[in-house]
């Protein structure tokens, strides 16, 4: 296990390094000048040069990258902005704040959104999938399958807007989605504010999990070892949960891990729809504002989330299935 983690962490770091380098280069291929946004209305060449120095973009590209990279490990001093301590992901061009701070500021929303909706879609999706698998071929199965098909073809920005209009504005059942109140400040307000986004975001995933759970369970219910378990006289319930579900879990946990990893990189459409301020909204801002350090930051967060999710998934898979060995 230790070797596994060591090896995978190393390769993860290499991946992140490559991604950061690619982002860096791609950013400078585009013909825009990030310095212009911080240069006043009647911008003079002198002021522009000053801004470039302030932003640390007056060096050659490889040197800039080196500075950025070194900043991650040992921190970095900015001419006009002061010290940015390690791990320094750079200063946002437009927010005038360390990128890391911006990301940590946004992360609770993304984390709440991700984990909350994961709870919803896992409970709903896996639950419905289990029912459908148990009632294979019966009406319940067919209804569940149809609903999940409809669910997977819905779009967040339509469902979200409609749900928000009726549930919050018209009927006042739920408060408007908000993320300004954190869990630690007021758990009830936090919960209410995210309930709608959780459910709407979950709609799309739920369908997927229903279908996957059903098909995985149908498959594993037909496994020989499940039949053996029944032949031993174990009850249906025991067989279902201890054997069939155990067999179906692997692929579901894999996809769940990757979905969570993906969502931790920011749920752009959901955040836009509900006016939430997670990593997704931050990514859009970074792109709009032509803000390289911020862009690098969010890209790396998204990539790291996926990479870490992969490692976790592999480790969990090994826990579930003793046939898998970590090396």
């Amino acid at each position: 296990m230790f070797r596994f983690i060591l090896r995978r962490t190393f390769s993860a770091l290499m991946i992140l390094l490559v991604i950061s380098a690619i982002t860096f280069v791609l950013f400078y291929v585009a013909p825009r000048d990030p310095a212009r946004s911080a240069c006043g209305k009647l911008c003079t060449p002198e002021t522009l040069a000053l801004v470039r120095r302030n932003l640390g973009i007056d060096d050659p590209l490889p040197l800039q990258y080196w500075h950025w990279l070194a900043g991650v490990f040992v921190g970095r001093d900015y001419a006009g902005l002061g010290h940015c301590s390690a791990p320094c992901l750079g200063y946002s061009f437009t927010n005038h704040e360390p990128v890391l701070g911006l990301i940590t500021n946004r992360f609770p929303t993304t984390l709440s959104l991700t984990l909350g909706s994961a709870v919803v879609f896992v409970v709903l999706g896996v639950g419905t999938g289990m029912l459908a698998a148990v009632k294979q071929g019966r009406a319940l199965d067919k209804i569940a399958s149809s609903i999940s098909l409809v669910g997977s073809s819905l779009q967040i920005y339509i469902v979200g807007v409609v749900a928000m209009y009726y549930l919050s504005d018209q009927w006042g059942i739920l408060p408007r989605p908000q993320d300004s109140v954190g869990f630690s400040q007021d758990p009830v307000a936090w919960f209410k504010g995210l309930l709608l986004p959780w459910f709407v975001l979950a709609i799309i995933f739920t369908a997927n999990y229903t279908r996957m759970t059903r098909s995985q369970l149908v498959e594993s219910l037909a496994e020989d070892y499940v039949r053996t378990a029944r032949a031993k006289g174990l009850s249906r319930r025991t067989v279902f949960f201890r054997f069939a579900w155990r067999g179906a879990m692997g692929p579901i946990v894999t996809i769940l891990g990757l979905d969570i990893g993906y969502l931790l990189g920011g749920a752009i459409i959901t955040e836009e729809t509900f006016g939430l301020h997670g990593i997704g909204a931050l990514s859009i801002k970074a792109v709009r504002d032509n803000d390289l350090p911020l862009l690098l930051g969010v890209v790396l967060v998204a990539a790291a989330a996926i990479v870490v999710a992969n490692i976790v998934v592999d480790a969990v898979y090994a826990l579930i299935d003793p046939r898998i060995r970590l090396a």
Binding site: R36, E46, Y165, S180
Partner: protein, 593 residues
Amino acid sequence: MSLSRRNFVIATSVAAGGSMVLSACSSGGGGGGGTSGGGVSAGKYSSVSIGTKEDSTGPAPEIPGAKKGGTIRPISPQDFSHLDPQRIYYSWNSEVGNLYIRCLTGYRIDGGAMKLVGDLATDTGTMSDGGKTWTYTLKDGLKWEDGSELTVEDVRHGIERGFASFTTEGATYLQAALTGTNDFRSVYKGPYDGKHLDSVVTDTAKKTITFHLKTARPDLNWTLAMQSYGAVSAKHDTKEKYDKDPFSCGPYRLSAHSVDKSLTMVRNTHWDPATDPIRNAYPDSFTFEFGPEALQTSDRLIADSGTDQYAVMAYSGVPAERIQKVLTTPALKSRTVDGLLTGLYYYAINCKRIPDLKVRQALNYAWPLQQIRTIYGGPSSGDYATTILGPDMAGRVKFDIYGKLAKPQGDTAKAKALLKEAGKLGQKIVYTYPQGSNDAFEKTKVVIANALKEAGFDPVVKPVEATSYYDQVQQIDNSFDVMWFGWSPDWPTGFTMIQPLFDGRVIANGANNVSQLKVSWVDAAIDKAAALTDATQANAAWAALDRQLMEKEAPIIPEMYQRRFYLYGSKVGGAEYDPLNSSFVLYKLYAKS
């Protein structure tokens, strides 16, 4: 300036969708007193004047029916880009800046009329030496949020901060005037090494401050109203970090700020209304919410439920999708304020590539303003522009040389005749716009190309990707003949509108004279008008130059003065349009119970 680079997306969508406000810097506004003479929708334009010492004395007149207390909740798609006064240029930032920043002068807004008054100063200043010396005296009882006294040293410190290396975003007029050079940082590096500017003199009583300018600026009183020249206490100056946590001398102070999510301002108990002729400050607090786009915010305000009853649309107007609904539903219409943006949208003609005046005039005749405005959303999206100076500029005189008000659809026959006369039938015209910023551009390019064809031109449409649009059209050696552009003045006199756009001496890569007009008589006329110390004479000179430019040079095709509609919740009182910042006048709002 060119419409903001930072908020480019917003800036361009203004033009086309009418959904958001010009986010370009705009610190000026207002119109030429009674002389502006209306315009297409008469009575809707504000009037601007310079107030007396009495006008500059607090408190601000009470608003009938207003009551103290409660919270007003402005909603905006974006957080403020800067809170440090010396780094504020965009009107969006100025809107909130008015709650905690005070300058020597400021605008008192009353029923659409704007009056320049003394804010920290007892009046709008005393000019001498042909505009080279300005003297101000501070009021008594000015305090910072910790109760300490605000002195002229704080005013001077704010101005000196404008030279620091980190305040690159702010205005530069005063710095250039004090040092006589645009490269003013090479002369003075800011107050942090203990040195002060020789050209700014304060008295021992810490009440009087005098500016000794290298170049005459008879309009410095307007310039000093820009928040870039707001006071900052040296004791509480945290340099770069001040942008996150500014120290207040206005009626409100910063209480909480969650970047890009929310910002709360609460009452500053040390602010004395008796010192302030401008601000009312009825609510106990303001809570800004950032994130929702204009359409979402409109729907929330239309629904008008819960705390949204205390909400106002901050800096993003009712979008095209909802404007008809809002304007045709009386209950909604009664909850709106509207006004024109201070900026002018226009099409710059590249005079270097199109040197023939007749061709530029033909373009003006041919341009299909009506079709363009229909695409933007019809009359509610704004008024046709026929002049360079907008209707809110001091001394502006309305004219319509190319008959655009009579024939807004364009006079292609006349254009063709002019082209023929010039021997330029079939003249190729490369038209460009920022692609990807707004769908409306994809539609307007069609009606533009059609009109040009009809007028005998050979139009070529060559869009530029939105994010690098300004970088490309501001190159001297670009390959465009007609470029979509916009500009807003920093204060409501002709100088800030005409000098940056048409002074032939400022042509450079990245500069704003995109028309590249380089004519000696224009340069001379600019210098002459800028030097006039009598405000009335100066205003008349700018108005005359406006007409001469369009008549004799036709360097641009004016398009529109855009109109903005803002919704506010049913429990918001005192709603008024700020012609200066194109937003609500926040400090006049109150919460109804």
